[in-house]
Structure formats: structure tokens, C-alpha cells
């Protein structure tokens, strides 16, 4: 379902059936607010009743005037009485109309709120793999452009649709009462109008689907190209980006213009049909007066009703554009909401991941790092991002509590994948991973992750102050703890130099800081979290070595008594590890400590030699006495 909307052609092909389903589902969203909707319908009924009967009384008033002309006696009091009643009815009608509008607005906003919340909630439950396939901009477009479109359209629709339908029924019943013959003439138009609407709607729905799909696509291009604009500039490839963008933009223009004018044709056509009806009523009515079957006041009222009757038909036709556009957007939002989720945790208890809004069992995690000792065992673990291409094969090793495990190997050997599996960002294809003898799938994902502190190479910071970004590791941490973490990880050092210090707000993916500084902040975050298992994945790759030395000391303190996994390219970092796993093409080809592996003179030996051939030995400052 999620992929169906990424290409315009499939979206168009499946437009018909999907649109109905999406429309029904959208209406289903109103169920929680059904009482309000009923109130709105009630208010509308009252409004229509008043609005419809007022012209009848106004017609009576006209007859009073007519009587004065033809009968010679002008009953001014009767006229005044009638008109006062009409005025009161009109005022009442407006009050009900306002009530209806307000109640509808409330209902619609609730639905929009719910839709946006559902999208956000969904993002938390999508498997990591989903983000590899779907472009960010398209997801964002669904949450903003599509929901906004639904909200605007529904607001107008619920306001007008109820009103128009009721006006239609009201006018019809009044017409039937006044003159069944004329009412029948008016009714003849209904099948015509329906046929016209259905014929056009069939054509335009596909265009609306395409319009919103293309909007999402355009959003994705924009998001991607603006995010990567420096690369495009560096290589002078704005032209290429413009070409791709223009392509989408052209298509968006064509498809939205088409959607607009095809569906926009409904209203004039319906107006035409109802005009013909109006003419027929006028002519037939006039003839009826000449034969004495109706009064002039009666005909005048009738003509007004037939307008009242044809107006809503035109309006409903005009709303076709809104309905179809709204449904097309709804389809896209629902497609995202229906995307396959991470399998639920096996323990049967609801976790935050399955149900984020209610805090999971361990929001922010147990601050003392859980109760685990931290014995981690990989047992014949095999996994591939796509099933046919395994990235890690038959991995087995044991990390004892308090040990530091270094994972080394060429780039792409599967080191980060191991971390992804331990964190359960991805699920194993076969084999098992246990912590303290318990299968990691036996806990909820959140429980599992609450045991683990992680620092990634891609330093993620969010819009907020530096302080908030550190506190993220342990919500509600005291000022002193935050400061301590910042000092230990040398964040304090550069933050003090900033004019706003810890209150400095990081925006725009944190680009006011250098990559190394961002990495330090994420290390501080993990430091503060203080979990019993620690994962450092190239955590200091962009940090200068003088800073790193100091961090390393801090980390050593932090690692004490914790099982830690370190992925680093610096064999120097690795030397002190209790267990070194040498990976190659998804397998552990060697494991042991530094001395053992060096003695074995295998892969590790070669890596080690390569590094020192690269020169750390020559770094020795001749006179520094190191």
C-alpha cells in the first residue's frame, strides 16, 4: 500500500476503488465526534427549516400586498405581523447556522489533530528499513500538505454538504406542498445532474490522486535538494536538480490544472440543468396562473424555492472538487498509516513502541542502567537487509559482564549491522542474541534498549538547546549531572565559549557546530544515560585526537563495570579491549585479545601492521621524551 502511491501510474490505476474506501474511512474518523456531528446536523435542520419556511411566509406577505392591489384592501397589520415573524425566523436561522459552523470546526480540527498524531505515532512504529526506502519529503508532505488539505476540505464540506442536502430536501418538500406538478418538473433534473456528476467524477478522481502524489514527490525533491544543496553547488549541478524539479513541477501543473477544470466543469453544467428547470417552472407556473390553478404569490414563492432547490445541487456539484481532492489526500495518509510495522514485541505486554503516547515501561530507561549484569551472547546470528544478501553470517561470541568488546574489520564488514541487531533495529533472520541468558526478543524493545547506551557516528541533534540535547539521555537529570556529563566529555570546554552557553539553540541539523562538536554532545548524552551496556560506533571519528584522549579517559571510567562494544578504526582504541572480534565479509574471522591475535599473525596482524606502517610509530616526537 505504501509503495503503491509512490508512482503516479499505479496511483491513477487504483484510484476508483481506493477512493471509496478512503472516503468511508475518513467518515469513520468522525465516529468519536458523532454526538457533535449530530448536534451540527440538528442545528442545520433547524436552520434549514427556518430558512425554507421564511420565503413561504414572505410569499404570503407578497400575497397580502397583491390583495391590496387587486382587492383594494391593504391589511398593513397583517403584513407587519407576517414580516416580524419572518425577521425572527431569519435571525434564528443565522444563530443555528453559527452553531453548526462552530461545532463542525471543532469536529474537523479534532480529526486533523488525530490524523497528524497518527502519522507521528506511525513513524515511531515503522521498521528502520522503511526509512531506507521512502523519501523523507514524501512522508512529510503526507503529514502536512495532505492533512492540511483534508482539514480544509472537510471543514468546507461538512459545513456545506449537510446544509446543501438539507436545503435540497427542505425546498423539495415545500415545493411538493405548494404544487406537486412543479415539484415533479424540478425533480426531473435530479437524474440528469447525477449522471453529469458521476461521469465527470470518474475522470477527475485519477487526476486528483496524481496531483497529491506529485505534490509528495515534489516535496521529496525539494527536501532532498535543499538538504544537499552544498553538494549540488560544489559540483555545479544545480542544473540537474532544476531539471528533475522542473519535471515534477511541470507534471504537478498539468495534473492539478486538469483535476481542477475537469471537476470544475460539474458546477456550470449543473447550474445549466437547474436553469432549464427554473425556466420550466417559470413558464409552467405562469401558465398555471393564467388558468387560475395558482396565485401569483404562490408562483413567486415557488420560483424562489426552485432556486433554493437548484442552488444546493450546483453547490454539491461544486464540492466535487473538494471531495475528490480530500479523498485523494486521505488515501495517501492512510497508505502511510497502513504500512507494515515492526512486529510487536513477543512478551505480550504493550511497549512504548507499540503504543508510544502512553509512556512505555521505561521512558528514558532506568536511570541506574537497569539491573542486568550485561553478559551478551551472539549465537549463530545471520542477517541480511534484503533476505538474499546476508550481511552477517553465523556470528557467535560471548561478551562477559564488564568486558570491552572491540569490533574491527574493513568498512562494510558488518560491524554496524551487529549493533543494529543488538538494539533490535532489525530482527534476525536466524540465530539468537541473549543478554544474561535471556533472549533479547523475550523483552520488549524498549526494555532492551533501556539497558543500552549508544553513540553513533552520525551525530543526531534536534532543534533545541544544547542542554536539552544532552538531557535527552536521561530526562529530568539534575543540572549538576548534566554539567558533569558535559565536563567529562569535553562538551563544557566549547560550550563555555558560546555566547549563550548551554542555552545555545541548535537548529538546522545543528550546523552551527562542527561535526566533532556534535559528536561530543551525543557522547555526553550517552554518558548521562549511564546504561549498563554501552555501544560506541565510531563515536569520535570527527573529534580531534587531543580531545579524544581526554574523552577516552572519561569513557574508561564510564565503561568500568559495563559491557561495552566499541567500533573503531583506530586499532589503538582497540588494543586495550578484553575481546577483539575481527570481522570480514560478515563473519568473525578471528577473536581474542590483542596479544593472542597478534601472536596468531592473521587478519588482525595484517591490520595492525598496516596501521603502524601508516606511521604511528614515527609519530614519536624525538625530543618529547614520549
Amino acid at each position: 500500500m505504501s509503495t503503491a502511491t509512490t508512482t503516479p501510474t499505479t496511483a491513477v490505476a487504483g484510484a476508483g476503488a481506493g477512493a471509496w474506501a478512503a472516503g468511508r474511512r475518513l467518515l469513520g474518523l468522525l465516529r468519536p465526534v458523532k454526538w457533535r456531528m449530530l448536534a451540527a446536523v440538528g442545528a442545520t435542520c433547524a436552520f434549514v427549516a427556518l430558512n425554507v419556511s421564511a420565503p413561504k411566509l414572505l410569499g404570503d406577505a407578497t400575497d397580502v400586498v397583491v390583495e391590496g392591489v387587486f382587492g383594494g384592501t391593504f391589511n398593513e397589520q397583517q403584513l407587519a405581523a407576517l414580516l416580524v415573524i419572518v425577521a425572527v425566523m431569519y435571525i434564528g436561522a443565522s444563530v443555528f447556522s453559527w452553531v453548526q459552523g462552530a461545532v463542525t470546526a471543532l469536529a474537523v480540527q479534532r480529526v486533523s489533530y488525530g490524523l497528524r498524531a497518527a502519522v507521528e505515532d506511525k513513524l515511531a512504529r515503522l521498521p528502520s528499513a522503511h526509512f531506507d526506502e521512502q523519501r523523507r519529503g514524501d512522508v512529510l508532505s503526507r503529514a502536512t500538505n495532505d492533512v492540511d488539505n483534508i482539514s480544509q476540505a472537510m471543514n468546507q464540506l461538512l459545513n456545506q454538504l449537510i446544509l446543501s442536502v438539507l436545503m435540497l430536501l427542505g425546498a423539495l418538500s415545500m415545493m411538493l406542498w405548494l404544487s406537486p406538478l412543479l415539484a415533479v418538473i424540478a425533480l426531473v433534473t435530479v437524474p440528469f445532474s447525477t449522471v453529469v456528476t458521476v461521469l465527470i467524477a470518474r475522470r477527475s478522481q485519477a487526476h486528483f490522486s496524481e496531483q497529491w502524489t506529485t505534490t509528495g514527490e515534489l516535496n521529496a525533491h525539494l527536501e532532498e535538494y535543499i538538504t544537499g544543496h552544498e553538494v549540488l553547488k560544489a559540483f555545479g549541478r544545480q542544473g540537474m536538480a532544476t531539471e528533475v524539479f522542473t519535471n515534477s513541477n511541470d507534471r504537478l501543473f498539468r495534473t492539478s490544472a486538469r483535476a481542477q477544470y475537469v471537476s470544475g466543469a460539474v458546477q456550470p453544467l449543473l447550474v445549466f440543468v437547474s436553469n432549464l428547470n427554473y425556466i420550466a417552472v417559470a413558464v409552467v407556473g405562469a401558465l398555471q396562473v393564467t388558468t387560475g390553478a395558482m396565485t401569483i404569490g404562490g408562483v413567486q414563492a415557488f420560483i424562489q424555492f426552485s432556486r433554493l432547490f437548484s442552488q444546493p445541487i450546483g453547490q454539491i456539484g461544486g464540492m466535487l472538487t473538494l471531495i475528490q481532492s480530500c479523498v485523494a489526500s486521505a488515501e495517501r495518509v492512510f497508505a502511510l498509516l497502513d504500512a507494515p510495522e515492526i512486529p510487536r514485541d513477543g512478551t505480550g505486554e504493550d511497549t512504548a513502541e507499540a503504543d508510544p503516547p502512553d509512556a512505555g515501561p521505561a521512558e528514558g530507561g532506568p536511570t541506574e542502567g537497569g539491573v542486568t549484569a550485561g553478559r551478551v551472547v551472539f549465537d549463530a546470528v545471520t542477517f541480511g537487509y534484503s533476505r538474499d544478501v546476508p550481511v552477517v553470517k553465523e556470528l557467535s561470541f560471548t561478551a562477559e559482564p564488564g568486558q570491552t568488546v572491540a569490533i574491527v574489520g574493513h568498512t562494510g564488514a558488518g560491524k554496524t549491522t551487529m549493533v543494529n541487531l543488538l538494539m533490535r533495529f532489525y530482527e534476525l533472520d536466524s540465530g539468537r542474541i541473549t543478554i544474561d541468558g535471556e533472549d533479547i526478543t523475550g523483552r520488549s524493545r524498549d526494555e532492551l534498549r533501556s539497558l543500552i547506551g549508544m553513540v553513533l557516528q552520525d551525530a543526531w541533534v534536534f532543534t533545541g538547546s544544547i542542554r536539552e540535547n544532552i538531557e535527552y539521555g536521561r530526562p529530568g537529570a539534575s543540572e549538576a549531572d548534566i554539567l558533569e556529563a558535559a565536563e567529562a566529555t569535553l562538551v563544557d570546554h566549547f560550550v563555555r565559549a558560546l555566547p549563550d552557553g548551554y542555552a545555545t539553540v541548535l537548529g538546522n541539523d545543528g550546523d552551527t557546530l562542527s561535526q566533532g562538536q556534535r559528536q561530543l554532545i551525543t557522547i555526553a548524552r550517552a554518558h548521562l544515560a549511564g546504561r549498563s551496556i554501552l555501544i560506541l560506533d565510531e563515536a569520535t571519528s570527527s573529534v580531534d585526537t587531543r580531545t579524544e584522549v581526554q574523552i577516552r579517559q572519561a569513557m574508561q571510567r564510564l565503561r568500568r563495570g559495563r559491557t561495552s562494544f566499541v567500533i573503531a578504526h583506530r586499532l589503538s582504541t582497540v588494543r586495550d579491549a578484553d575481546l577483539i572480534l575481527v570481522m570480514d565479509h560478515g563473519r568473525i574471522v578471528e577473536q581474542g585479545n590483542h596479544q593472542q591475535l597478534l601472536a596468531a599473525n592473521g587478519h588482525y596482524g595484517r591490520l595492525y601492521a598496516a596501521q603502524f606502517a601508516g606511521g604511528e610509530e614515527t609519530l614519536r616526537a624525538p625530543e618529547s621524551g614520549l
Partner: protein, 582 residues
């Protein structure tokens, strides 16, 4: 702002706009004629009992209705086209503008906000345009036409119609004035929704790792509630508009019957006029309601126009020099890639402390120039001055003897090949990403570049080789793989100057060493500048620049610096400490 923007954009479409106006006038006139003919049916047909006339007038009415539908359909077609063309053009302009902005300028708006502006904000303007075309021509025509016809029927009674207009204007004015600030805030809130979600997508793994989903849900809920509250407030205001207008208009029709009745009694007015009059009042009500729809949309569109215009009005700080391309002193390529910094200082606008402070050095072809220094010492900033991603505050940056500010941007950037610190890849295939550097590169060229970048092995292992998919940002590759793809991309280009911004950080030593080996031939003809954290990476560099807090504290070769620079010695010592060689 909105009006100016609309007029500017519509200028190109004058003939079509004219056609729309004419067609709308035709259809509005037709619409107004129908009740007039209807009045004739009553006055001349019914009252005089003239059946022939009734039928003849009926025929006329049918003809007019046919003209009306034709005109309306034509107007609809043209308006849809022009309205969407406006949106198309605005998006195109926005995209072109954003491409000319620097990172700071982009950052000032924020990526999510720029994206919202180019889609959602443009849509609001488009929606308004559709309404304007369908209604703003018809509504005044109907309104004014209604008034004229009413005057024609009975001048005195028309006083009522004229009297209600200021009341209606007042109602609309009061409501619209409150709507504008609400809508302004609303668009900002949409930006925020988008921003939070974008961060959540980018940081998905970190959020999950720290089990902060509930916190994120809360963070989103705050913004979501804000937007909902804002939308609700504006919707409630809009909901009040229609009932208020109806009260005024409907009461006036009551007045018409009352005063009209008296005038008819007095013999000042015909009976048919009263019927027609009520029809006209209805006409005017419809006209006002149509105008109201426009007015409901207009404040939001006006706010959106402001936001779009703000982007379009941004004057990129970094632009092509005023001289024409023909006026360039030299041939297509800068001769040689000697890079020279003369007393360069850089500070962010408004910042007190300079990020780079009076830096001078020369990097020559045939050698590697390396920059080393602590985190935040200004290394990346220095590199960013070369392609003019940032602009020097004072001093000069020269390439091949030319001040970078004197070279046309495309020409300048053509002579550079950059590997950015953030290894950014676009969604597409490996080959497509590499060809960003050189679009016409052959597959062989790509493979050669991949080989030099030590990326050939893992790319070959992919199911579709160089045609394998890359997800946005390159998230389906490991950090080291991403870096090597970015290096391959840069190497594909035959440039006088290569810039590596901490691009080897995610590589293991063996790969790093091999890569540096493979780069050697490159340095024979080009200038290579490498920002690095590890001394091992830059041992062979012909010139090493040591940066400390924005100042160039030492320069020289490794051996020289080991003797002369304490900062460099400290860095070396730290790496030895990391190496545990003591």
C-alpha cells in the same frame, strides 16, 4: 504583497486573464438576465394573460442559459490553467532562489520551512487564484449588476440594498483583520510540524535507542495542539462570517417587502418589481457569499505570499562578480591550482569572535596540504571559503592567482572537487550519485574512480553493482562506505584543486592507507587540501597547517613541526597515547 505578487505573475497571462474576465462577464450577465425575463413573464405574461409571450420569453431564457454554461465552462478551463500556472511559476522561482542561497541563508529559513513554502504556501495562493477567477469577477458583477437592476426596478427601494453594503463591509473587515495574524502563526506552525517530523525521521535510531518515543510523541503533540488550536480559532472566525451576512441580507429582504408593499399600494411601483426585487436581493446575497469565500482564503494566501516573497527577496550574499564572463582574463580553466590565503579572517555576521583569524598560506600543485587542529578550530570553515560557501570577512582567497570573488561561481566551483564532511548522497543509484560530479562520465570512468576510492569491492558486491539503489542521505550504506562513495564522486572530476574535508574519518587504517596511496598520482597535477584528525593520514603531506582556535599557529612538514610546534607535538602525543605506545 499578495496583490503585487499576483499582478506580477499575471502580467504574462494578460490575454488569458482578459478572456476569463470577458467570459465571466458574459455568464454573469446571463445569470442576471434570467430573473429580469422572469419579471417580464409575470408582468407582461401572467398579468396580461399572454400565453404566447410567456412561451417566447421562456425560449429566450433557455437560449441565455445555454450561452451561460458555455461561457462558464470556458472560464473554468482558462482559470484552472492560469491559477495552476501561477503556482508552477512560484515554485520554479522559489527553487531557483533557494539554489542561489548560502548555507547560512538556507539555515535562516530552515529546510522544512523552505519546503513548506514551496508547496503548502504556494497551494494557498493557487487556491485563492482559482477562487478569484471564478468568483471575484462574477461576484462584483453580480453584486453591482444586482444593484443596477434593482435601481432600474425601483430607485427608492434600492436604498435598502445600498444601506446594507457598509454594514457588510464592516463585518468582513473586522473578521479578516483578526484572521491575518492567526494565519501567519498557522503557517509557522506547519513549518514546525514538518521540522519535528523530519528530525524524528532522521534521528529514528537514536530516539529508539534512548527509548524516547514517548518524549517525541509529546514534543510533537505540543506542536500539533498548537496548530489545531490555531486552526480552530480561524475556523471559528470564518464560521461566524456567513450567519452575520445572512442576517443582514435576509432582514433587508423583509424590509423590501414591507416598504415595497407600501409603495405598490401607493401606486409608485409595479407588482412584478417586488418579485424581481427579492430575486435581486438573493442575487446580491450570493454575490456577497462568493466574495466571502475569496475573503476567507485571501488572508491566508496573503500570509503565504509574504513568506514566499521573503525567500524571493533574499539577496544571496554570495553572487557572481559583476564582470561579464567574456571579460575574464584567462582561458576556461584556472591555470594551475595554486591556492593562496592572504591574511584571511572570517567571522559569522554579528559574532564577536572570529572563526578564522588572519590566516595566510600557499598550497601548491604537486603536493598535499593538510590541515590539522582541534575540534571547532575552524578547519572546515577554512575549506568552505574556497568554493565560496562562506565569504571572507577580510583578506583574500586566491586560486591560480585570481581572487575567488572575481571568478564566476560556476567557473570557480568547476575548478574544485570537494568531499564534504557530511557524506551526503542523494536517493537514486550509485552511478547517478557519482555522475553528479561528471554527468557524461562513462561506466569505466565510474569504476576507475571507485577503485581509487577503495570502493570498488563493496560496490561490486552489491546486487546491481553501480546501478544499485541509494536511499536518501545514503542511509543504506555504512558511514565508511558513504565516505568512499563521496570520495569517488570527487575523484571522478579532473580538477586543479581537490578538497577533502575530514573525509577519511570513517575509514579504517588499511583503507585509509590504500586510498592515500591511490591518491598520489592525483597530486602530480593538482593541489590537494586535506582536513584530518589523524596524523597518520597526513604524514606525507608537503605542508601541514596547524590551526588552533582559528589561528594558524604553525606550518611546515611533519618533521619540522615535530621540532617546532608544541601544539603539533601535543596532537602527536595524544595519538601516541591513543596508540598506547608507552
Amino acid at each position: 504583497m499578495l496583490r503585487g505578487m499576483m499582478l506580477r505573475l499575471l502580467a504574462e497571462h494578460k490575454p488569458v486573464v482578459l478572456a476569463i474576465v470577458l467570459l465571466q462577464l458574459v455568464q454573469t450577465t446571463a445569470n442576471l438576465l434570467l430573473p429580469t425575463l422572469n419579471a417580464a413573464v409575470i408582468d407582461d405574461g401572467i398579468v396580461k394573460g399572454n400565453t404566447d409571450l410567456i412561451l417566447r420569453l421562456g425560449g429566450w431564457m433557455a437560449g441565455i442559459a445555454a450561452v451561460q454554461v458555455a461561457a462558464a465552462l470556458g472560464a473554468g478551463y482558462f482559470s484552472a490553467n492560469v491559477a495552476m500556472k501561477l503556482g508552477h511559476q512560484l515554485r520554479q522561482e522559489l527553487f531557483a532562489k533557494v539554489q542561489s542561497l548560502s548555507s547560512q541563508e538556507v539555515g535562516a529559513f530552515g529546510v522544512p520551512s523552505l519546503v513548506t513554502r514551496a508547496t503548502n504556501d504556494v497551494q494557498q495562493i493557487q487556491a485563492l487564484a482559482v477562487l478569484v477567477f471564478t468568483m471575484l469577477v462574477a461576484a462584483p458583477a453580480m453584486g453591482i449588476g444586482g444593484i443596477v437592476l434593482a435601481l432600474n426596478q425601483d430607485v427608492v427601494l434600492s436604498g435598502i440594498v445600498v444601506a446594507i453594503i457598509p454594514v457588510l463591509v464592516l463585518i468582513m473587515f473586522v473578521i479578516v483583520r483578526r484572521l491575518v495574524p492567526l494565519y501567519r502563526e498557522g503557517q509557522v506552525l506547519i513549518d514546525r510540524i514538518s521540522r519535528v517530523l523530519r528530525e524524528q525521521i532522521i534521528g529514528a535510531n537514536v530516539i529508539r535507542a534512548f527509548v524516547r518515543q514517548a518524549h517525541e510523541a509529546h514534543r510533537f503533540a505540543v506542536v500539533n495542539r498548537g496548530l489545531t488550536r490555531n486552526n480552530l480559532q480561524s475556523a471559528l472566525l470564518v464560521a461566524a462570517m456567513l450567519p452575520l451576512i445572512m442576517i443582514v441580507v435576509n432582514l433587508s429582504s423583509v424590509g423590501v417587502v414591507w416598504f415595497g408593499g407600501h409603495r405598490i399600494q401607493a401606486g409608485d411601483m409595479q407588482l412584478g418589481s417586488l418579485t424581481a426585487f427579492i430575486a435581486y436581493i438573493l442575487q446580491i446575497l450570493i454575490a456577497i457569499m462568493m466574495a466571502m469565500y475569496v475573503l476567507m482564503t485571501a488572508p491566508r494566501a496573503a500570509v503565504c505570499a509574504e513568506r514566499i516573497q521573503a525567500v524571493l527577496d533574499t539577496r544571496p550574499a554570495i553572487a557572481d562578480p559583476p564582470i561579464s564572463r567574456a571579460g575574464l582574463p584567462h582561458a576556461r580553466r584556472t591555470p594551475g591550482g595554486t591556492v593562496e590565503f592572504r591574511n584571511v579572517t572570517f567571522a559569522y555576521p554579528g559574532a564577536e569572535a572570529a572563526v578564522l583569524d588572519r590566516i595566510s598560506f600557499t598550497a601548491s600543485p604537486g603536493t598535499i596540504t593538510a590541515i590539522i587542529g582541534s575540534t571547532g578550530s575552524g578547519k572546515s570553515t577554512l575549506l568552505n571559503l574556497l568554493p565560496r560557501f562562506l565569504e571572507t570577512t577580510s583578506g583574500e582567497v586566491l586560486i591560480g592567482g585570481h581572487n575567488v570573488k572575481s571568478l564566476p561561481l560556476h567557473f570557480l566551483r568547476d575548478s574544485l572537487s570537494l568531499v564534504p564532511q557530511r557524506a551526503y548522497l542523494f536517493s537514486g543509484t550509485v552511478a547517478e550519485n557519482l555522475r553528479i560530479a561528471v554527468p557524461e562520465a562513462s561506466d569505466d570512468d565510474l569504476l576507475r574512480a571507485l577503485r581509487t576510492a577503495q570502493a570498488e569491492d563493496f560496490v561490486r558486491d552489491l546486487p546491481d553493482g553501480i546501478h544499485s539503489p541509494v536511499s536518501q542521505g545514503g542511509t543504506n550504506f555504512s558511514g565508511g562506505q558513504r565516505q568512499r562513495l563521496c570520495i569517488a564522486r570527487a575523484l571522478l572530476r579532473d580538477a586543479p584543486v581537490y578538497l577533502f574535508d575530514d573525509s577519511l574519518s570513517a575509514l579504517d587504517y588499511a583503507t585509509d592507507a590504500r586510498l592515500r596511496q591511490a591518491l598520489v598520482p592525483l597530486t602530480h597535477r593538482s593541489t590537494v587540501i586535506i582536513v584530518a584528525e589523524r596524523i597518520a593520514t597526513i604524514l606525507d603531506a608537503g605542508l601541514i597547517l596547524v590551526l588552533d582556535q582559528g589561528r594558524l599557529v604553525a606550518q611546515g612538514t611533519h618533521t619540522e613541526l615535530m621540532r617546532t610546534s608544541t601544539v603539533y607535538q601535543e596532537i602527536a602525543a595524544s595519538q601516541l597515547a591513543l596508540g598506547g605506545r608507552l
